[in-house]
Amino acid sequence: MSRHDPDARPLLLGEPARGLPLLALALLSIGLMVVDHRQHHLAVVRQWLSVAAFPFQWAAQAPLAAWTGLQDRLATRSRLEAENIRLAADNLALRLRLMRFAALEQENHRLRAARDSSSRIVQRSLIAEIVRADLDPFRQRVLVNKGSRNGVFRGQAAIDAAGIVGQVARVGPVSAEVILISDPMHSIPVQLNRTGVRTIAVGTGRSGELALPWLPQSADVEVDDLLVSSGLGGVFPPGYPVGRVTRVERDPARPLLAVDAVPFAGLDRDPEILLVWFDSVIVEPEPVPTAAPAAAAE
């Protein structure tokens, strides 16, 4: 590979690689990291960078999106018909459940009014498309195509048709980064629907797995128990399905149980998610013994 430089300019060893620029740039990077780590100092810079990066992130997934679009367009008639029949059946089943739901909601409102606690149901939602860009294979985060221009805010809950997906970790004007409930840095306050036991589900870094590491040996938990969001911390609306317990290991030598759960939401399959607004005024009438720290994204 030895080549001669036809360029006549002198190219002394080390001339373009002096130590001073390296030191200056390295210090600048460290300064940036420190400022960025102490949240919000660089929010504006981040927002502009996210605007600049978004077209490329979008372009990266465009061929894949075009391919799936083409497949949809070429879908066979029989497949579409089958899908139509399935959707119609789904619709009927959901309508039936909705009929009961209206009456239940009415009753719930009345009872909550009697208890003087506000009902925290989702009031508004926004559909956001997931941009299939691989940000980091070791972190469970996705990029969506809605940002602060659409009213998206940091800490906003994201759900899909099956359950809770995650929360918004970072917002730019036209895009937002959603941290999934399976990210190892994420935890969500949950409640066992059967017994009402409150605990925290933390992500494991694998998209089909949650862990419930803080349940005492005495806790009443069984395989197939439904986990719903408890609404503590005010990030997630209460009562939404999160996952199902898949493994309970009771080791008497240890003070805590080892419990695994599988999330309901299609964390790695969703083409789009719902960002929700709900009335997050928390009026908890009774004190909570197993007080949980708020769900934290960072």
């Binding site: 080390g14 373009p16 690689a17 960078l49 992130q57 990266a60 894949l64 860009a133 990029l143």
Partner: protein, 159 residues
């Protein structure tokens, strides 16, 4: 278009954008884990073989762009890339005279250093990823080097 061991800025810009985009192109699970660090490869490629087109500032801004692309701590990749670009610029005259296998070994060491700096900053900033598989992209990246060097040789002789 091409003067000496330099590339025109349009080519550098196109190459940089392609590398950044390739970093976030969606790949199926196991492939995404083995994805080489394209930006680090391009920075090394330019620093070793075309040092006139770029410099430390280029490596630093590429790192910053990568941080913005991947949504990690701002300055993380910038620091790592400036460091390896500096070493590559220092060593380029020797390295260019070496046979391909030894070049690849140097690139492997530099990519490893890059990954180590990122790993270290991840840990310091409280987001440790200790999975051993994160190091997989270092050998994969180094394995791409012979191909990259050959492509470069063709680009310059054609000019």
């Amino acid at each position: 278009m091409i003067s000496g061991s330099g590339l025109s800025w349009t080519r550098v810009a196109a190459l940089s954008l392609a590398a950044l985009t390739a970093t976030v192109v969606p790949l199926p699970g196991w492939l995404a884990l083995a994805r080489p660090d394209f930006v680090a490869l391009v920075v090394l490629w330019l620093a070793l073989l075309a040092p006139r087109s770029t410099g430390l500032l280029y490596a630093w801004s590429m790192g910053l762009a990568l941080d913005a692309f991947r949504g990690v701590l701002l300055g993380q990749h910038a620091l790592a890339l400036v460091l390896i670009a500096w070493i590559a610029l220092r060593l380029r005259l020797q390295v260019r005279a070496w046979p391909l296998l030894q070049q690849t070994a140097v690139v492997f060491a530099l990519l490893w250093l890059d990954e180590f700096v990122i790993f270290w900053i991840d840990g310091v900033s409280g987001h440790p990823v200790t999975d051993w598989i994160r190091w997989l992209r270092v050998p994969v990246g180094a394995a791409c080097w012979p191909l990259a060097a050959r492509v470069f040789a063709r680009t310059t002789t054609r000019g």
